[in-house]
Every structure is written in structure tokens, then in C-alpha cells.
Chain length 479, copies 2
């Protein structure tokens, strides 16, 4: 066991130093590696496979709701970025500028896209003519660049991967419905596949996307009580359309502006996964997106028949799950640790005694519980344990969120709570941006969202100014 | 028919102006659109769906041969690009340079990756330790930027999409085998799925990739007789490893350099597809990668039962093919033209008379041949017609290549041929770069490759210098 312990001790304990634990898991589970380019990481095969599973699932949901993938240019001319005033103010300070092509200085600077609203609008201005072409519901998978000062794997990088959906619609109502439909798709994905409870709500105006009329968000709580914005969906009205002169002949043959949305989920969600479910043994991956759902570790594999039995198991399980058989020379103990670090949901052990008894042992990653399973009942048991593990991940994260959420009404309570621990604080709010600033300055809190379903029974005052409250807000410290 | 004719006449005739015909097809089939950013195009939904089908097929082949996807940074610091001398000389003149992050001038310039050998080497130098980790067989799907002067959709753009495979191996032999394995995968894909005959061969040294010891290529011939390099695979020896100090402890515990390969296919292959198979009606797509494999057009759709019968057909065909039912208000004639322009391989027509007779009409895109098919035999007939269309596409392209390939031995013959028509010219060659340059200057020809299987029986002289020949070369004019 000494060796096992050493392996585990190579990562920092989660409760000792959460930030260091997070970085250790990213590196040790071989999700990413640092590169020589400051703020840029390398997505290693295991991290990329995880992202591809996330992509596959979301992409299918986008296509099922009538969205089509496209690919816009990587670069944006400065003049194009500047067409929408709020948008350029939000993004210009943090973009990377291309100024030379080969040895020639460019006449106009191009920025590497930080997001692509301007490019989509430019395209639509070119191709849109009639209401018959609407809606146009597009998505692209790509990376974007934002020149951040401080960076952390998955959470904040100068380059990150994401999908950005961009749509235009004939009517305001249809665009608003689209915005909420996509938020719901994100929430369902987070809760039912990533097993990560989220709060759906609307951002306060100061936290809105640059150029949006409304921004909706799903907010998750990490194990340490901090918030992580895990997906956003924006409603633009016709502001961008007006700025970019995107028009169409409507049903009365009048030139009209379409109503627009955009929505995105990025590799940040991998950071959310890690910090929601991981423990001191490393990553714990929800089965729906785990690159390896079941790992088979032969025990006493030099003994006759063990590797053959393991191979037969692999073939059988491989029909239903993404499975890996590790028949390398490493010890079973080393393998156990290795795949626990990588967060593989279920481990199947098979040795001579198991073969004799027509059984195998299945170990759950989350609670290390061992179940001896008759091979006659293998598929049923794998399905049952997968379901149970999924539910347990969700329940644990949900319990964490609930135990770290308080409803408070006075500044004194809020400041005391916020300075002693991290978590969500729910309060009323008058709607004034000055009071929001005060929450930041006095309690170090930012508004996460105005949660859906909790805005109808507002009866009380804003804890900052004492004026009549109009909204209920969830505050927190955020990644 | 007047309307149909008008629609068709909107694209230039292929034999009148091949270049204009090509551009017309790209735009009219809605594969791409021009953007406001010079040299950059927008990949529209139909083009992107086509590329995604190409990606899906190739990606599965890469994974089946043990390759894993990764994602490297978008930017390369100038110092990293400069580490391999030949490589930087090849690429530095045509890269886009990022010089500012927000409002701050960067201490070092970063280029947008024109290709990623330097990034992969930088990563390997960081993570590679032991021969036990070898081979590392990686691939990434991404876009790259090269600041070209003149650009054309799919063929030459300042940004293009591709996959770049990068591998390192313990031995020279293994790396060389990898290089050829990937070339064969490309050739099989081109011939069996894109139905595009290709010639496999080795590039002459002057045409090698910057930094490579050997470059292999698949060369296709377009309808106009010009060549299009459709995929390349490079063997690097240990040159990059030495330049980037990528080392590992080998089986004798000595620090050694691994042997390296890279290989790529880009969206150029879509250009190749268009120019191999297309005709005056527009695109013709091979079924394996066509976004829509079968389009159903109801005839007299206002009549009772027609749309219902079409919907039943869609459900039935949709189990086996990517199918679209166009029940829009446009006339059948308009729809016929539209899906011919888009290159949909098979069209299924169903009208009242067909329903009465328990039949439908299937029309092949390539030769417009109509077959009346009993619905009892629908699946068999769709399969048969798909196969026949595939074979016909291949045979036609093959016949074009063969009819435009000449074997010549004197400069006089070569110059006469090259100045009167486009095609492949096969000659012997002494191996001297000066003679290669003379072929360019005197006949306007570049060496496409030294074809495999034709290098053993060299008996004769170089047509340029008259010295003893060492190789057989295929020359041509290339896109």
C-alpha cells in the first residue's frame, strides 16, 4: 500500500488547498499540459476525448432543434468589431491584434475573434433577403482568444474552446423563445449528463454580455462553495442587426431588422465537472461523457486464463460501454490508482478466483464500494451501478449547494457570512447598480443571477439601500 | 422549361470558363460565401455538413489505427517557430503576426499557426520520458493561417481547415511505416469514398515540406487536366526532435531522439471533389460524404395523399440514408434544379400516378437517368443505383485522367504538349533540381510526384539534360 499512498499523495488534498488540488488533478489526470505560450494550454488526448464527448452530446441536441453548423473566419477587421458600440467596448481591451501578414504591415488591424457576433452579422447582411430564409439557426465549434492577465486551466485562458450559437428570427418572441430554449438545453445537459445541479436565471444588467439586452445563465456551485457560470444565452433584440444593417423583406414586403440571439458553452464546463465531483483520489467523471466508462483490471494476470477471461469481458462490455482493458505490466494497485485519478466511473476486476466462481468484482469510483457480480448478471449490474453512481454524484453536488446557500436580509449578516465562508447568498435587491457595487466592495460578492421562479413574491427591501426591492438575487464569489 | 434553363444558365458553363464555373458552383451550391475579410471565406451549413462527413470518416480511420485527438495552442512564439531552420524559412514569409494583446505591445511576436510541428515538438519535449510512452500518435482538427497573396475558395485561402496528424516513434522504420500507412488511408478514402482516382508517389526534394526528409502525396487530376495535391504525409527523421531537444530513455537507458511524421488533408479536398465530378448543372457529390444522399420531391403535392406518401417514403429511406423531403411551395422543376446544383446523388419523385401504381421514380444526378421502381423493391434499388453512381463517378474521373496523361521523352514533345493542353506528362528525370527548374521555365510544368511502382525499370535519359535518368516523374500544372 505504500506505493499507492505515494501515488495519491502526489496530489494536494482537496480541503487543504482547493486551487492547488484543482491544478494537480488537471495535470495528473492528463487532461491538459502547460505550453511554452503563456496562458495557452495543450489539450491532451484524455482531455480532448472528454471534450469530444461533451461536443457530441450537445451537437446532437443542437441539430435536433434545427441548428446547423457553420465556420466563420478566425480574424475580425477592427472596423467590423467597432460597428456595435457596447460590444467593442466590452471586447477591444482584451483581444489579440494581428498587424503583419508575412513581412508586410497590414493596412487595417485584425483581431483574433474573442466571439463572433460581428462575423455572423456581416455574413447575414450579405445573404439575408427575405423572411422566407428565417430563422437562420447557426452554431460553430471553435476556439476564441481573449488576452487575460491571469489564467488557469479550463477556467480562464487566453485561448479556450467553445461552441457559439448565433440565430436570427423574424419576431422578437421567437428570438426570446430561442434564448430560453437553449438555456434549458444547457441546464438539462448539465443536470442529466454531467450530474451537476445548476440554477437558471437572468443576469443583472451590469453582468450582461457586451451588446445584449438580456443574458441568461446556468450557475453551478463548486465543492468549495464558489460559483461557476457554466453556460450563457443572450437575447440581442435588433441592436446588432441595426448596427450591421442586416435587413430582410418581411411579409408586407417592408425592410425589417431580424431579432438575434447567441449562446455558448465552453471548456470551462470541464473545470466545473472537476470541481463539482472530484475528490482526493482525483477526477470523478459522470458516465455520459467519460472517455472510459469501465476499466477492466485483471488480477494475477500471469495466471492461466486470466487475460483471456479479461479479453472476453472487454468484448462483452464493449458492446454497451466505452471500455478499456489494462493488461500492461503495471501492478493492479498502480492501475487502480491510475484509473481513479482519471475518474473512470466503474472498475471491473477479474482474477483466478472470480473465473472459478463465474463472477467479477465491480468497484464504484465515487464511494469505492465493491460488488461481487455473477457474470450471468453482468449487464444488469453495470447498468444499475452506473445509474446509482450518477444519482449519487448529483445528490452529493446538490447537497453541497443546498448546505452552502443562505437566505439573508441585512448587510451585517451578509458581510459576516461572506467573510467567513464561500457559498450562495440569496437576498432581495432594488435593481440599482450602485447597490450591486456596494455588495462587491463591502462583501466581495458578485451577482450570479436573478433565479427563475423566485421573482414573483418580492416583498421587502434591498439590504444595501433599504429601498423597496424589485428582484431576488443570488450572490457569490465566482471563478 | 424556361425557368429551369434560367436557373442553370446562372452558372458559367464548365467548358467555357472552368475557373468561373468552379466559383459559381461554390457560391450557388451554398458551400461557402465570401466574407469582408480578404482571403477568408464563410463555410455555410451545406459546406460545413460536407466537411463534417469527411471529418467523421477520416477521424474513424485515424482512431481505428490508434491515433488520438489533441488540441495545441493557436499561436506560436517567434522563438519557437525559429528552432528548425528549414521550417522557419518555409513558413515565416507567410504567417500572420500577433503583436498586441489588448493595448499592450507583446514582448515577443506570436504567429497564428501555419502548421503545428513546432507546437507538438514543444509539448513532446515536456512530456516524453521513456520508450514506454512511444509511439505517440496524435491528430488535431483545426484551421491554420497562411498569408497568401491570391486566394480561391477551398483551393488557396488565408485560413483553411484541415487535420494535421503528428506522431513520434522509437524507430526510423516504424515512423516510415506510419508515413506510408497514412498516405494509404488518404488514397483509400479518396478512391473508395470520394470516388476520385489518385496517384500515390513521393515528392521531389524541391517540393518537400519545409523540414521534411521525405514527403509523399496523393495527386488527383481535375476535369480540366490540372493537378490537385489532395493529401500529404511527411517523414522527418529525427531533425525536429534534435532541434527541439525531444528525447527519451531508450531500451538501453540511453537518451535518444524519436523519429517523427506528420500528415494532413484539408478542405482543399472539397475543391478536388467539385472539380473532379461537377458538371454544368452544378455539384455532384459522392454518396459517402453527401450531406443529403437522397432528396424526395413530391409531384402535384396539393393532391390528396401525395405529401403523406412522401412522408412515409422519407421515414423508410431515412433509416438507411441521409434524406431530405422538400415539401416547400416551390415548383418541382425549381426543386429538381436546386438539388442538382447541390449535387444530391439520388432524387426520388412521387406523385399521384406513382402512388396508384405502388411505385416511385428515382433519378441519378450524374446521368439524369430515370428508373421507375416498385416500392416493394425500394431499398434494393436505392442501393443498386447508389453503387452504380459511385462506380460511374470513379470511372469517369479515371477515364479523364488516363486520356490526359502522356508519356513523353523529348523536350520538344513536352513543350508542344504542355503549351497546347493541360494534363499529366510522364517522363524520366536525372534527379537534378536544375532540370526540374528548366521544366518549369520552358514548359510551365511542376513535378507532381515520383509515382510508386514505376521507379524500378528506369532505362533512359533525362529529357532536359540528356544524362542518365534515375527517376520517373509525373509533371503537370497544379492548383
Amino acid at each position: 500500500m505504500a506505493k499507492d499512498k505515494k501515488f495519491v499523495s502526489e496530489i494536494t488534498s482537496r480541503d487543504e488547498d482547493f486551487a492547488q488540488w484543482f491544478t494537480d488533478v488537471c495535470i495528473k489526470a492528463e487532461l491538459i499540459d502547460y505550453s511554452s505560450i503563456k496562458g495557452f494550454t495543450v489539450m491532451r488526448p484524455y482531455g480532448q476525448a472528454l471534450w469530444e464527448n461533451i461536443q457530441k452530446s450537445l451537437d446532437a441536441k443542437f441539430k435536433a432543434t434545427g441548428h446547423e453548423n457553420v465556420a466563420m473566419p478566425l480574424l475580425i477587421p477592427e472596423s467590423l468589431l467597432q460597428k456595435e458600440k457596447d460590444h467593442v467596448e466590452g471586447f477591444a481591451p482584451e483581444v489579440a491584434w494581428v498587424t503583419y501578414g508575412g513581412s508586410e504591415k497590414l493596412e487595417e488591424r485584425y483581431c483574433v475573434r474573442p466571439t463572433s457576433e460581428t462575423l455572423f452579422c456581416d455574413h447575414w447582411a450579405h445573404v439575408l433577403q427575405s423572411y422566407r430564409q428565417l430563422p437562420m439557426k447557426y452554431n460553430q465549434w471553435c476556439s476564441v482568444v481573449r488576452w487575460e492577465k491571469t489564467t488557469r486551466p479550463f477556467l480562464r485562458g487566453r485561448e479556450f474552446f467553445w461552441q457559439e450559437g448565433h440565430t436570427i428570427h423574424e419576431t422578437e418572441q421567437e428570438a426570446q423563445e430561442e434564448t430560453l430554449q437553449m438555456l434549458n438545453i444547457y441546464a438539462d445537459f448539465a443536470e442529466n449528463e454531467l450530474m451537476m445541479p445548476v440554477i437558471k436565471g437572468r443576469k443583472t444588467p451590469s453582468e450582461q454580455f457586451a451588446g445584449a439586452q438580456a443574458t441568461y445563465t446556468i450557475e453551478a456551485m463548486m465543492h468549495d462553495g464558489k460559483a461557476l457560470q457554466s453556460g450563457t444565452s443572450h437575447y440581442f433584440g435588433d441592436g446588432f442587426a441595426r448596427a450591421f444593417d442586416v435587413t430582410f423583406a418581411d411579409r408586407n414586403n417592408t425592410q425589417s431588422y431580424p431579432f438575434q440571439t447567441s449562446w455558448g458553452v465552453s471548456t470551462r464546463i470541464i473545470g466545473a465537472l472537476i470541481m463539482s465531483h472530484g475528490d482526493d483520489y482525483g477526477l470523478i467523471l459522470p458516465p455520459a461523457v467519460a472517455p472510459i466508462q469501465v476499466v477492466i483490471v485483471p488480477v494475477a494476470q500471469h495466471k492461466e486464463g486470466v487475460l483471456e477471461a479479461a479479453a472476453r469481458l472487454k468484448e462483452r462490455i464493449g458492446k454497451l460501454y466505452r471500455v478499456k482493458l489494462d493488461d500492461s505490466d503495471n501492478s493492479p494497485g498502480w492501475k487502480f490508482n491510475q484509473y481513479e485519478m482519471k475518474g473512470v466511473p466503474l472498475r471491473v476486476e477479474i482474477g483466478p478466483k472470480d473465473i472459478e466462481n463465474n463472477q467479477c468484482v465491480i468497484v464504484r469510483r465515487d464511494n469505492h464500494e465493491k460488488t461481487v457480480v455473477s457474470l450471468d448478471n453482468l449487464e444488469n449490474e453495470l447498468a444499475r451501478l452506473t445509474k446509482e453512481l450518477e444519482q449519487a454524484l448529483f445528490d452529493k453536488a446538490k447537497a453541497n449547494m443546498e448546505s452552502k446557500t443562505e437566505t439573508l436580509s441585512t448587510m451585517e449578516e451578509i458581510i459576516t457570512s461572506a467573510t467567513t465562508k464561500d457559498g450562495f447568498i440569496k437576498t432581495l435587491w432594488c435593481g440599482d447598480e450602485e447597490c450591486e457595487k456596494a455588495m462587491k466592495e463591502k462583501a466581495g460578492l458578485t451577482s450570479r443571477c436573478m433565479p427563475f421562479g423566485e421573482q414573483d413574491d418580492i416583498d421587502g427591501v434591498c439590504p444595501v439601500c433599504g429601498k423597496k426591492a424589485k428582484h431576488r438575487v443570488i450572490w457569490g464569489k465566482a471563478y
